[in-house]
Symmetry: C2
Subunit: 345 residues, 2 copies
């Protein structure tokens, strides 16, 4: 593969001049510029990003460590992150932690070794020494979706409180009183917060959230199934199951079906994180939708701000409730002649 030296030789100039042309430095004669450009063309030369990074100490690359690629929420997040990064002149390397702290650490280490310019993390746990050290050492870093309290790193996330209140209002108006939740791991902020928001919203209606109605999940489908089975085995099973993420909702749906029960007739179901597939499930699932794309873009902007020496601030965007049929018939039956279209959004 041709190097800058080859180009210099071909164009009959020094490597410095070639470099100047490539980085369009002003003080290069038009004459030299055209000769260099021609040489670049004939040799099919492309600058070696590795060498360039070594010299400039910049890789123009962001690292993104997410908890689970197979979760459509994170897939969409990753996609929007890459889009915005590309628009700002950066590439993205994605590391999938699969909800495993050891894998998360592996990826963080790998990304730091590669000298990425900044790190976007949705932490799986409370944060390993590695990550905390990196943050302290000044690696530009931004948390997205989940974060670690007490660490001085901007956080870009959605606030689901209002949407959860709307959800509980919706459930209450449908007559549901015994509401249960499948929580995420207590080590994650989203795992804890969603339970809190739910409990708080229940309080508004004078409802309790008994321990028996809090199932411990791990954001994976299988745990949703297991927890739901536990709920169904209770002497007084809940009327509603609220899953703290979409995969656990899927597991819950499985568990309910496996018993030969029906949603929403026998038990209602709602989920945190809306995804396109929820429109097509049987029944369509009512969910709290995060502005995923916006989150990804805002996170990249905050990170690039940090990298380029600007402040880089935290952002919190509101989530919103999307009502479908999994909790019972909506309170305001639609006048529309084609009721099937109601839940298309």
């Amino acid at each position: 593969m041709a190097s800058i030296k080859d180009v210099a030789a071909e164009a009959g100039v020094s490597v410095a001049t070639v470099s100047r042309v490539l980085n369009d430095h002003p003080s290069v004669s038009a004459e030299a510029r055209t000769r260099v450009l021609a040489a670049v063309e004939t040799l099919g030369y492309r600058p070696n990003a590795v060498a360039r990074s070594l010299r400039t100490d910049q890789t123009h690359t962001l690292g993104l460590v997410i908890s689970d690629v197979m979760n459509p929420y994170f897939t969409e997040l990753a996609r929007s992150v890459e889009e915005e990064a590309r628009a700002l002149g950066y590439s993205v390397i994605i590391g999938n932690a699969d909800e495993r702290p050891d894998l998360q650490d592996h990826h963080v280490r790998n990304l730091l070794d590669r000298r990425i310019d900044g790190l976007l993390v949705s932490p799986t746990d409370g944060g390993s020494p590695l990550m905390l050290d990196a943050a302290r050492a000044g690696t530009p870093m931004v948390f997205v979706d989940r974060w670690i309290p007490g660490v001085d790193v901007p956080v870009v996330r959605a606030d689901g409180r209002a949407a959860v209140r709307d959800l509980v209002a919706h459930l209450h108006s449908l007559g549901h009183r015994r509401l249960a939740i499948i929580a995420g791991p207590a080590a994650t902020t989203t795992g804890r917060e969603r339970v809190e928001a739910f409990r708080e919203a229940l309080g508004v209606y004078g409802l309790e959230l008994p321990d028996a109605y809090i199932g411990q999940g791990d954001f994976q489908a299988e745990s949703g199934r297991r927890v739901t089975e536990g709920f169904l085995d209770l002497p007084e099973p809940p009327e509603v199951v609220f899953a703290a993420d979409n995969l656990m909702a899927l597991g819950a749906l499985d568990a309910v079906r496996a018993r030969g029960l029906r949603v929403p007739d026998d038990i209602a179901l709602a989920a945190f994180d809306d995804i396109p597939w929820f429109v097509h499930t049987d029944p369509p699932v009512t969910a709290v939708a995060q502005p995923t794309g916006e989150l990804g873009r805002a996170a990249v902007r905050a990170l690039v701000d940090r990298i380029e020496g600007r402040p880089g601030e935290s952002v919190t965007l509101p989530a919103r409730l999307v009502v479908r049929r999994s909790c019972g018939e909506p309170p305001n039956p639609p006048q529309s002649p084609t009721p099937v279209q109601r839940s298309t959004s």
Copy 2:
């Protein structure tokens, strides 16, 4: 960030010795080794992968350019690729082409500039000069899922012929005779092959595939919707719609619902590419399942073989039919007491 020089100073040895310890070269005294290791520990030193890559001309990184991350099939593929690569000591940089040739080119160029050791591609189109040049120039490369004919690059893919024959047999046994297909882009091999396999399978039963029953899609949900609407508008609409990928199947489902029609009673639906969500849609969707994880792993093995100087061969694995309820009741009604479990797979 500490460099190898700092470590050498701290340990009181030369950088050469430090390097030898790090790459566990045999000829280093135990004494020196422990001193270096201690220095590494106290400084929290990590070798700079950028510098190492420049010197060794190896990045231990694979590039993966896929057609669409939001498609669960490709997400799973990406995941298995990363897993196998990690097991073999490589990292993966994913580029999402979003079915756009220009974006595909952007990512290929970016990956080549970064001097990745090898490239895994699922081409969106017939291949740009850039990609073809890279292949000819000797960049280790493997095609996965889709490929470009006439290019000397190993191909790892699934053969859906047998499964499509099984599908058509299934449909035929249910009494369906007017079968239509939503094809993928003609520029992709999978776009063409699936139509051919379908036509061939129909031939076995003496059935034709008229042009009116071949809709041109682009592997995205919206095109599935559009094509399906076209089918439904025909004077004699098909009894079955076979979508050449899962997203177009989703679009088809939308279109059918929007008309107030029901699957499978009014029209049957099947898809190429099975995904977990098809178990949960209304109704569960009959699909041709590829051994996605195996494909990803085999592709990585083939690519790493090439990189490390071994042959690196093409692999073709069989796809298989997964029958669910979207084409009508299966011919052999299950004896099982809990019929809802039938389609859990």
